[in-house]
Amino acid sequence: MNAFIDARAIPTGTILQPDVAIIGGGPAGITLALALAQTPLKVMLFESGGMEFDAKTQALYAGKVAGVSYLPLDASRMRYLGGGSNHWGGWCRPLDPIDFERRDWVRYSGWPFGIRELQPYFRRAQALVEAGPWSYDRSTKPMAEVAEPLALGSGGVYTSWFQFSRQRDSVLPTHFGERYASDLKRVANLKLFLHANATHLSLAPNAARLDHCEISTLNGRKFSVKARATVLALGAIENARLMLASRDVASGGVGNGNDLVGRFFADHPIPRDTATLVSFAGDIPGYYFNAYDLNGALVRPAFAPRDDFKRNSKVLGSLTTVENAVELDEVGKAAVITTALSLGVDASNAKAYSVGCGLELEPDPERRVTLTSDRDILGLPRLKLSNLISDSDFARYRMTMRELGRQLLAARSGMMRLNLKSREGWLAALDWGDHHLGTTRMHVDPKQGVVDADSKVHGLSNLYVSGSGVFPTYSASNPTMNLVALTLRLADHLKREMR
């Protein structure tokens, strides 16, 4: 067993020389470290925090937010081993095939590869997030035997399924730091440093490779890591911050020759109570609200637009869940009575429910993080997040909801009310998933992406970025399981490249 190393005890001026340096100990960094176990590669992982939350370390995340309301930057992330997995909800769902495609109605869309490239990694990612057997959309039939689902007429929306991470069969999602600490200690070729903050990426004078990464601790120690390959796994916001702040050789920052680092930031908007769904027959099955244990997989349904509906109606991804029972007002009762009677349906036991959702945003280069003149106590410039959301993002989701409403009427199973219409209404209902995406997007063309199809920073031979920051488009699926799959793919690439 290799005990974790406290970086605060490393003498200043030390130069560490691993084969692979992983900067960041969240789901991506931990996944990569585990995936590189039992290779001849000497691996070092550097995590800013310790094993638990620490306010002084967390404060390094503080920054500004402008534009559309967003959680403070030091509240939407967690800076200790396990990273974002320390406060995630455990929601899992694989990306859809269309998410990888270039869609002519979605600006800047298209991954450098299709879903086939990730499919070999999904099962291993599923195991790492502990979401049970791969069930997802195979859950429809067996769940119908548990209780008849809400019927939908044929159309553009279908009932899809989430699965949930649960650490060692408990009800909690997997916290990667706590869950995999002992596994990481058992990896013979890994050294894991806690309390180690990456503060600078120092390029070689020709700016073609990373020479070393500077590490600082809150007790004043400074040392450097000179690795054959370095992987940034700090999360989408912090990866961009470190790259933008490292300007001694490349004036615009590392990997930023085309002014792309920090741009295309995204998250999943989660507007609350977007609609009211009425079931004419009364109560809908409990598994719509609470995840159901289906042979070891915790599953919960969501209404999702089909890929052909997305194409035909030019909408983006969304996942709509039924949340809680609500009371109808007099107009609502009149709508239900009038509609049900006209359709020849008995709605005397009708029940109404609030509906929530997670939305995919269209990529936008102006939704971005930039450096400010403020600095943290380690001297790193703090960030400003300029958060934007367009009316078309809301309008597209509304189209999907209208289709769902139509399909409920077609099945004579229920009806819907769309609760949000004005931009002000949407913004007032808005919450965010804290799914940081897109600041170092992937594209084969250096003018359109920061990293290439292998997650390597364009123009640099030995610097990689891992995590959801490389997603060029964002899907509506929660990113953790998908970024873990993408990281496993990166691990295979590094194994091949560094033989």
Binding site: A275, T338, T339, L409, A410, M416
Partner: protein
Amino acid sequence: MNQPRLSRRTMVASGGIAAALGAAALGLTLPRWLSHRYAPTPYDDLLATLVDREQAARLGAVARASLPSFSARAAARELRQRFEQRDLAEVLDADIREGRIAEIGGWLLPDSLAQLCTLAAG
């Protein structure tokens, strides 16, 4: 000359039959007297398709409030075309199938039903 005389039994029986007939007639007509009576409109042929006109009117009032330029005549003309040789169920099915979904106060319903509700609001 002796007049034919009604026996007491006949009189009681006749009275009973008359009372029963009267009660039956009252029973048939009373609900109509007690229920909401609507002033005649040029659209009664359409409004007659609504099962609960009062509830429909309540919903329609919301539509009316947001559609100040609503033309009842134009809506009725459109509806009559849709209803030609079809009943309400068939018309609504066609709306749903062909994606003619209207919104009243956010509620999504077949367009023809929405129009009927708006007409019912007067």
